[in-house]
């Protein structure tokens, strides 16, 4: 009973609009010239997939606070229910934590019909995070085989997309690309909602 009252007292924490995107996990605007990006993300404009948000290019590139950096090929089949299976192939733990945080009360992923599952056989989408390490190569292949079609492949984080400064990215044909190092929960939620055929967050 105590807990129930405690919950009531704290009130509703779920937010109806995205807030509090930190500057260095939001899209950057090119305002000047800069050479010396450690991942060559500023060759032809700003490549969000390669950026590791190290702030070296500041103030030639400035953060806008806009969290909508993801690109997604949506599949409206999952509009009502989208089960995700996270696969860590070589992260630093950041992407894992940020992905987990979309279930926190502020974001509340379940109101959008997004859920996590414990088995790839029950999954609609696989969230692949981290650089592709040797040990996880076979595991990645097995996991992708185990997920039944139709499936959505999501690359989360600069390490998975391009490798960042850490190694090699995961070279697969992905439906959803979520840049960031690590991407904030707002970016992830925006990407996932677009992936299941919605308008974004």
């Amino acid at each position: 009973m105590n807990w129930f009252l405690r919950g009531l007292r704290r009130g509703v924490k779920t937010e109806s609009k995205p807030t509090s995107t930190p500057p260095w996990a939001s899209s950057l605007k090119v305002e000047g010239n800069f050479q010396g990006c450690p991942t060559n993300a500023i060759e032809d404009g700003w490549d969000s997939g390669k950026c590791i948000f190290c702030r070296r290019c500041y103030p030639s590139l400035k953060p806008t606070g806009d969290h909508r950096m993801a690109s997604a090929r949506g599949n409206p089949m999952f509009r009502r229910s989208f089960y995700l299976y996270p696969l860590d192939v070589g992260t630093c733990g950041g992407c894992n934590s940020e992905l987990k945080l979309i279930s926190s009360p502020q974001y509340d992923m379940t109101r959008f019909g997004i859920f996590f599952t414990n088995s790839p056989r029950h999954a609609d989408g696989v969230v692949i995070m981290g650089v592709l390490t040797e040990g996880m190569r076979e595991v990645l292949k097995e996991t992708l085989d185990a997920v039944p079609s139709p499936k959505v492949l999501i690359l989360l984080g600069a390490c998975a997309i391009s490798g960042g400064v850490v190694g090699e990215g995961v070279k697969i044909e992905a439906d959803v690309i979520v840049p960031g190092c690590p991407p904030s929960p707002n970016t992830i939620l925006d990407a996932l909602i677009k992936a299941k055929g919605g308008k974004g967050w």
């Binding site: 704290r10 509090s20 930190p22 590791i52 070296r56 088995s119 850490v166 690590p182």
Partner: protein, 377 residues
């Protein structure tokens, strides 16, 4: 004198380090008879694990008789030598949740190797960073423990507090995991934005959690480990006041009146209790340090000279040691993460427990595999 761990060929003690014969990390524990037992595979890719690690558990059905862990599935080859500006990018990304601890330990080691005089306000700001990270990590561990114990309200409220802390860090330092917030003799954070009001009700919240019979039953006598070689919350739970904030001079915690919290319960319950109490302690430390820290922003400090240095800071899960060798802006470094030792302790403590106890024990230790499986390129 307490033993911390083995870093390459050096044995690290709290008083110093020396080349010696000392205990190495062992990711295998227990012994099974063989007849009628089978191996249960848990990981690397399983629903209950945040990161990819494999456990081969020998069991006759329920009780864990022998266990072997393989944290090298996601072993990454990282660049640990080069220009300091590049190496620090790698160091931050060894383990994002302990990023402040890693980068600060690294920076302090560099400063020591070339004898840079660090401003007092910068040190206080660093203390605030470390304590914010500690609060966030402890909230994360408590959330995982509550989630495993199926306490829905507590789990979500803790997660909400963790997200608030992350947002606070993002506002203050520009990045939610302190990436690129630290440099030689500078801290790129707006400390006046630090507001800890959202944690005002944490004391009563934690007390309510402590009265929950489910938690008590699942935590007590689960994962008992009581030996002299322990670090972090596991050590302090067993009654040993081992804390780098106390016995290392990397940062001036003593000026804030710090003394380690110690409990006499060398099991998951003790580790749970220590973490909750340390959150309250960290809030006090931050409030104390805020008075002494200014809004410090440093410029580019060129590192000149040759030298080598070591530093030790208290990450949320235990002692973290960095050793660097500087040569005029070029650096090579190696480190001892707390998760290596914690994984050895965890495996030892899990023998004799049953499958249901496993997730509580695992989450209670706060082990991050990403910092174990790291190899020099």
């Amino acid at each position: 004198m307490r033993f911390i761990g083995k870093l390459e060929n050096l044995c690290i003690y709290d008083m110093g380090e020396r080349e010696d014969q000392c205990q190495d990390f062992s990711f295998h524990a227990g012994k099974s008879e063989g007849y009628g037992e089978f191996t249960f595979v848990y990981g690397p890719s399983a629903g209950g694990l945040t990161e990819s690690v494999q456990f081969m558990i020998k069991t006759s059905g329920e009780q864990i008789l022998e266990i072997e862990a393989n944290p090298y599935f996601k072993k990454r080859k990282l660049k640990f030598s080069g220009r300091i500006e590049d190496v620090i990018l790698t160091v931050e990304r060894i383990n994002a949740m302990f990023s402040a601890s890693h980068s600060l330990s690294f920076i302090i080691a560099v400063e020591r190797s070339v004898d840079v005089n660090v401003d007092y306000e910068v040190m206080m700001a660093r203390i605030i960073e470390l304590e914010l990270e500690r609060i966030r990590n402890h909230l994360h561990v408590l959330h995982k423990l509550a989630e495993t114990g199926a306490l829905g309200v507590a789990s979500y409220q803790l997660q909400e507090m963790e997200e608030r802390t992350n947002r606070l860090i993002g506002e203050v330092c520009g990045h939610r995991y302190f990436f690129s917030s630290n440099w030689i003799n500078s801290v790129k954070c707006n400390l006046e934005k630090v507001r800890l009001d959202y944690l005002n009700g944490f004391n009563s919240f934690f007390n309510d959690m402590l009265e929950n019979r489910i938690l008590i039953d699942r935590f007590q006598n689960n994962g008992k480990i009581d030996q002299d070689w322990l670090i972090g919350p596991a050590a302090r739970a067993s009654g040993r006041s081992y804390d780098s904030r106390y016995d290392s001079d990397s940062l001036p915690y003593k000026d804030l009146g710090f003394s380690p919290i110690v409990e006499r319960s060398p099991d998951t319950f003790g580790r749970f209790l220590i973490r909750g109490l340390e959150i309250l302690q960290s809030i006090e430390i931050i409030r104390g340090a805020l008075g002494k820290a200014k809004n410090v922003r440093g410029g580019e400090v060129k590192v000149k000279g040759v030298g080598s240095g070591m530093s030790r800071v208290e990450s949320p899960s235990g002692d973290l040691v960095y050793k660097v060798k500087v040569d005029d802006g070029f650096i090579s470094t190696s480190f001892l993460p707390p998760s290596k030792a914690n994984l050895s302790f965890f495996l030892k403590s899990v023998i004799g427990t049953i499958f249901t106890d496993f997730p509580f024990n695992w989450e209670g230790f706060g082990i991050w595999i990403s910092e174990i499986g790291v190899e020099k390129e």
